[in-house]
Symmetry: C2
Subunit: 434 residues, 2 copies
């Protein structure tokens, strides 16, 4: 028997109903903030991602040669494709350009809970920043609004600033290669590995402690706002770090005004990738364990990738759609189930013409209706209607037809009444409205 490929999933009706409901809520949220949807192809030239993330990334890619010998890959993420689209077709649009996307991505990784080889990302980007403090704050507000709209509970946002972090590393005398080595260790919180590395690089014990303490600065928004001067003094070895902190402070004041919550400041957030330039953040749902990150993003700059001259700052986030679904499932979130409004049961072949008319009326009213045709008896037909999560059974037999009616049975209330054939849809609509 043919199986689906390892690490992929099929989605049954109940799952798709839930996934579409989540998608609809996320879309409504970003649209209420004035973001418009775009889409890019499922595969891209391999070069796009190698340029962005380095050749190492091909280990995780579904890359291949197409029949024209082009190096192609299924996309592993959506920021690079969105920026490619921006530079090729959207760059003349008024700034800031606020866009969102919902798409599938592919990574060849060991399948495990919350990690699939095909997975979905829902993301938003502001390209061409108008006011970097406000735009970054808005993005954080939007990310949290999306997660709140999803129905998820108990997530926590952590916000940092790689500009501060990088300036501190520079102030300790670390060059670009050393920073490149250190940042992933910081990102993963591997402080012992970081300490060992910095010792090898002959940093003084004092400098190493200073860095480790700085990375472990965690505070509330109010603590940052009130303690800004103390933090600035801690950064006094680097004017750049102090300037980055001043920027960060302006943004933090705005997210407080916007009511973004719950948020903590965490200067140890590094994000894995080079292209982040300023504010960075992650949102975690602890109960997901190793795959706890449900959202991440920050301010970035990708223009080098596209060999364009103009500087184009952007800020964006991506929500791990499957992880949010997993979180909702773990939290026993109750999604709408697939349902029918009416299940029409013609008692015999002679009643079919009238049953077809009534069903047409039901469809024409925007109600969801289906018909019994498997020749089951009445009891089994009602059971089937219940299995389809139907609100009403509409029974049409010889007796009913003599009177020009159908017997409409409310399957929840177990109440049955006779309704004129022409009024069945209106009757169900009025009952449904109550």
């Amino acid at each position: 028997m043919l199986q689906r490929p390892r690490g992929t999933r099929d989605f049954a009706p109940e799952e798709m109903t839930a996934r579409r409901a989540l998608e609809t809520r996320l879309r409504a949220t970003v649209q209420s903030f004035g973001y418009n949807e775009i889409a890019t192809p499922t595969f891209e030239h391999l070069e796009l991602f190698v340029n962005k993330s380095g050749a190492d990334i091909t280990k995780q890619l579904y890359n291949f040669k197409d029949k024209g010998e082009r190096d192609i890959t299924l996309r592993p993420e959506l920021t690079a494709p969105v920026m490619r689209f921006y530079f090729s077709d959207l760059k003349m649009r008024p700034k800031p350009l606020k866009i969102f996307y919902f798409g599938n991505c592919f990574r060849y990784e060991r399948p495990q809970d919350g990690r699939y080889r095909e997975f979905w990302q829902f993301g938003a980007e502001i390209i061409g920043v108008a006011d970097k403090h406000y735009d970054n704050a808005e993005l954080l507000n939007l990310a949290m609004s999306c997660l709140r709209a999803s129905g998820l509970k108990g997530f926590l946002m952590r916000v940092g600033h790689v500009g501060i972090l990088k300036a501190v590393l520079v102030s300790l005398g670390l060059g670009p290669e050393q920073q490149k080595y250190a940042m992933p260790l910081i990102d993963k919180g591997e402080y012992q590995g970081l300490e060992d590395y910095l010792k090898e690089q002959r940093l003084t014990p004092q400098d190493i402690s200073y860095l480790l303490e700085t990375l472990q600065q965690k505070m509330t928004l109010d603590e940052l706002i009130e303690g800004k001067d103390a933090l600035s003094r801690r950064l006094e070895r680097s004017k750049d770090a102090q300037q980055a902190l001043a920027d960060f402070y302006e943004m933090v004041k705005l997210i407080k005004e916007m009511g973004v919550s719950p948020v903590v400041i965490d200067l140890g957030i590094a994000r894995g990738l080079d292209y982040y330039t300023g504010m960075v953040f992650e949102v975690d749902l602890q109960e997901l364990g190793a795959e706890k990150q449900v959202c991440g993003g920050g301010a970035y700059n990708l223009e080098e990738l596209f060999e364009v001259k103009e500087r184009m700052d952007a800020t964006g986030f991506a929500i791990g759609f499957d992880r949010v679904m997993l979180g909702l499932t773990r939290q026993n979130y109750v999604f709408e189930r697939p349902f029918l409004d009416a299940f029409v049961i013609p008692m015999s072949r002679e009643c079919l013409t009238n049953a077809i008319k009534v069903l047409g009326q039901i469809h024409g009213s925007g109600l969801r209706g289906d018909m019994e045709l498997a020749g089951r008896g009445m009891g089994k037909s009602i059971k089937h209607a219940e299995a389809l999560n139907a609100g009403f059974a509409v029974i049409i037999g010889e007796d009913e037809l003599k009177k020009g009616v159908a017997s409409v049975k409310d399957l929840a209330k177990r109440a049955q009444e006779e309704v004129a054939l022409d009024d069945v849809a209106a009757h169900i609509l009025s009952k449904k409205a109550k």
Copy 2:
């Protein structure tokens, strides 16, 4: 500059808004008929499609070896994946199982108008037929209801029956291999090629004319219903063909009762693929030229593919989503554009706190709102609001704040009024409702 891969597309906000609107209409239509959505992975084991369509199909596939040396392919269509999912996970569900899908498919073909290397199909299937006449009729009704809901005009459904066709070929003494050669010629309407082939196969001129005339039988539903006996006499050389006609007749009476229109009977429809067993149909939009087919389907049987013992009849269709979009565009169909309800313009940095509050109020009311932050002057801000297709500009300056109001400008009517800061969202909601 990196380009998108040849034959693929990016979709800008206007296009995505239109595509999502079409998707929403199609989904609402099939849901009103009681169909529930499923989804399958974007790639499958190559074997699935080779088994279904023959090794020749690999020429058109995006197939490759994954990093585990598995033969994988991007899906070229969705019926085989849906049936794979059915046999692995859904087969214990009550019958008939009515499902739909909306997904992207991939074919390595020469890109041209209406033909892309990544394209979308919207389809529905009934698996485990309860009453084959009714189920087939419902599918036709559903396909036409979907196309009508799309907003498209001027399409025409042609319905035939491969059971009749195959029985006629058998009655002329053609074996399985000869049928396999003849069917694609019939499908493409290459009657000259068919005639040449049948001459080579030493059919008599009389038999060849008989077949060609039968293939070219085209009639209205009423003509078939009234002329059934004459057509049956034409098929008198084959009891199987007459039985297939009798089945077809029952179904045609039902689609007439359902009001499916416009439809013609066309016995020359063969569909390319082996697995169709009975009713087959296509829907054309002439103005799309060579790529005129916007929908196609029929009754089929795929269980051999999955090495299962039980017979499982199914019937389904797929709508070429991109062709419907192309048709709507050609017909100048007016889709909703991306829009904003309100564009908030703080006149200075001092007004930002209040502007943030008003914008939060707007988002909280489910309205779409954004804010001016690029530091443009008033005139340019209003122009930007218009470029964003905003309904209202909400101006908050020092003068307004002294009075506790915002100036709310209706951008269509060019009328402006002062509204208390707390009432801005309610004001816009009430204006919008009118």
